[in-house]
Symmetry: C2
Subunit: 499 residues, 2 copies
Amino acid sequence: MSDKGAKESSGADFLQLDIRDAPSGGRAEWLAGRLRRAIADGRLPVGSRLPATRVLAAELRVSRGLVTEAYQRLTEDGHVAGRGRNGTVVVAAPALPITAARHPSPAADRLFAAPPGDDVFDAVRSVPARIDLSPGVPDLTAFPRAAWLRAERAVFGELVPSGFAYGDPRGTPELRRAVAGWLARYRGIRANPDEVLVVAGTAQALALIGQVLREDGVEEIAVEEPGSLGVRQHLQRQGLRTPPVPVDGQGVRVSELRAEGAVLLTPAHQFPTGVVLGGARRRELMRWAGEGGLIVEDDYDAEHRYDRPPVPALRAMLPERVCYAGSVSKVLAPALRTGWVVAPPRYRDALVAAKRFADLGNPALPQLVLARLMESGELERHLRQLRHRHRRRRDAMIVAIRDHLPGAVVHGAAAGLHLLITFGGPDGTAAARRRKEFADTELAAASLARGVKVHPLSWHRQRPGPPGLLLGYAASPATAVAEGVATLGEVLRELGGVH
Amino acid sequence: MSDKGAKESSGADFLQLDIRDAPSGGRAEWLAGRLRRAIADGRLPVGSRLPATRVLAAELRVSRGLVTEAYQRLTEDGHVAGRGRNGTVVVAAPALPITAARHPSPAADRLFAAPPGDDVFDAVRSVPARIDLSPGVPDLTAFPRAAWLRAERAVFGELVPSGFAYGDPRGTPELRRAVAGWLARYRGIRANPDEVLVVAGTAQALALIGQVLREDGVEEIAVEEPGSLGVRQHLQRQGLRTPPVPVDGQGVRVSELRAEGAVLLTPAHQFPTGVVLGGARRRELMRWAGEGGLIVEDDYDAEHRYDRPPVPALRAMLPERVCYAGSVSKVLAPALRTGWVVAPPRYRDALVAAKRFADLGNPALPQLVLARLMESGELERHLRQLRHRHRRRRDAMIVAIRDHLPGAVVHGAAAGLHLLITFGGPDGTAAARRRKEFADTELAAASLARGVKVHPLSWHRQRPGPPGLLLGYAASPATAVAEGVATLGEVLRELGGVH
């Protein structure tokens, strides 16, 4: 046997595949399943290359199209990714069957035992889990690595040396122009590039807006209840109080907002309930803002929607009273730390000064690369691909919830990267009485002890309320999503028949 | 003539070169000069490609080595740069002879007419200049574009998808490890990677340190006099007072520091005077810190030194009382917005919290690329190349000062990216009397009106003092440096015989 032959057959031999084991009519799915197992048990570790389709097809004596189809399924799962000349590479392992202990680990226990502190999200991240259903993360296996590198090469080919010097604290003209175009196309916002302030993600947007409001004499900013714990922490860090205002099925209750106050809203897909701000509420809110109210619009995942038409940003309707913040964290990757603020005219200069003294502006290179991806249509293509994948994962989650958590009520699944489940029926019923008997933090702790990471709804509340869980579906393959939900069902039954 | 021939000859024809015009014995310099002129007058615009050495050599009927030597000179000047397969590309035009008006432009006038405001550096940057001698910028034509792209490709090849998610606010483990190694090799600092906090440049380091000191009850931090205007602005923004402490030929006067106070120092190469903190002063400072003083060490350009041995960082000697800040702004590029803080143990957690709520951490990709450049030795190679170029440019500046500004006193030229010139002799002399008659801001304004950008020393003072100019030499080709200084000489004579 030649060296070449040995090398090629070694590419598939270890998989121990025999096509005669495959069911007729489902051979691609069978092959995909075998490869998934090899990835899960480490025979094909993350970073390794799948055999070339030609090689594997020849060995199994099947058509190359069949192998390509199997690889395609793994790609859609998010287990493997095409790397151009480098072939098809394993990028994420599927969940293994549960083998870990069924008792909470000390780290998981501590995490959910006390009210969440300033470092709660760092702590959550640092606890390992087989299946991570944390909300707010898109499919990261899909990050367009090749397109990013191509765009960066093009940027380097054109960049004048002064592009490496200190720059405009507002961001590069290229990205501000691209963001203005993006906001017009996707969010109905008309903004001049000069009005766009590039920032280090929504976290920095909140820090800068918080600083500027404090300087302006603002002492509190109302937040949605339930509403994002992270957002609340970032605002409080700037010395702002964050009084809660209830959210119902139509969104925030505008009638409970303080006249001439400030409020932070997530109107397109309320975090965490997923409610879309209703038409009557929008009009009511516009009136409130017209009479002196100020809105900070956190448009954190508005680009992701599945079963409903797009909802224009509030900013599109009331530029004088809405401070808009968006980012690429949910469209590309949180690790890029890139977002933008479009502020009302009266706060614009103060925000630029705050950004200048925060860090003199975002790094230039990633801004220029991102601007290219936006202007070339690559980012749009990427978003379409993400939507397709996310929808499949969301559907898998809904099916799994129906099968394994039959008593759970699903909220906000028409858009975004996560959904919310709550338990029990309306107040006064037996289910409502039972639901008071368990804390969602316990459920999250027990679930994490079984290797499935979820966020308890109570973290995102300032007032007592029914328990619930936030389940992110976008970042995990459909198989992992389904298995994670199945594990939740087991945990819930073990915790004592909440249903 | 074939197509190929036509194309090749067009590569050099427009240069109108005749080798018979060249002086014997200086043909490479002659060729470099002709090419410089073609770049300066736009026949070879920035971004265009030089003819292949083989092509130009054949046309001129000279050896390929001679052409290569000429290209090498242009590369060292910073006018052109090798771009691998893309050949040799024009990256910066040399200064053209003065054709602009000799009267201050309105923008330049405004810039220097009033005391510098919060946006002074943005304003300086936005005024165009033929020759930019602003301090604090390294040779940016040398940015290792190819190495950066190679490292980024390698990063993408290995990065697991979770690398694109939210990360540790302290920075990636890879960069923290690489920075710890860099600090040990270059600055004599022993730090555990866990002690390294990656930040968005020194600007953010100052913002975070300022916040944390304020939270700890610190209300003022002494600064060097003269000392960096930018540093002072960043500290004041955090609500800190910045009382000045004089700097003399041995560095900061430790005896004038308030007991148990805080001070920001630039000990390796004082900004702007370039003084190195003397041995006796170091010992005095250590005593002061040991008795409760706190030092913020701004090690902004310590990697650049020419005629003297390296000076270890203060942090190396007193880890409990020194909060150290460094960055790649002067080693690679300010536009990367990447730096680090190594804090005393008591401030470490508070700084991590401040960074978390500032922006959740630096972007991951540039961190990973930079870590590779540091660990592979590429950054070290780059630094060696920079030193060589910067030294030539510094030498050119010193020669030009001797020729065109014979009365100027040069300070701090043994290290860094800029030098300081002051005028006139010791107090009481006629020169000292005359020097009080002109403001360095007027000199800077008149110089900018002639296309040469410099910073007046008075910007970097809180108390009155002799006039002076900060002249950055690192970012401009030697020819531009020399011409800029010559223009300064003319301006000075026109302003009325200060010398």
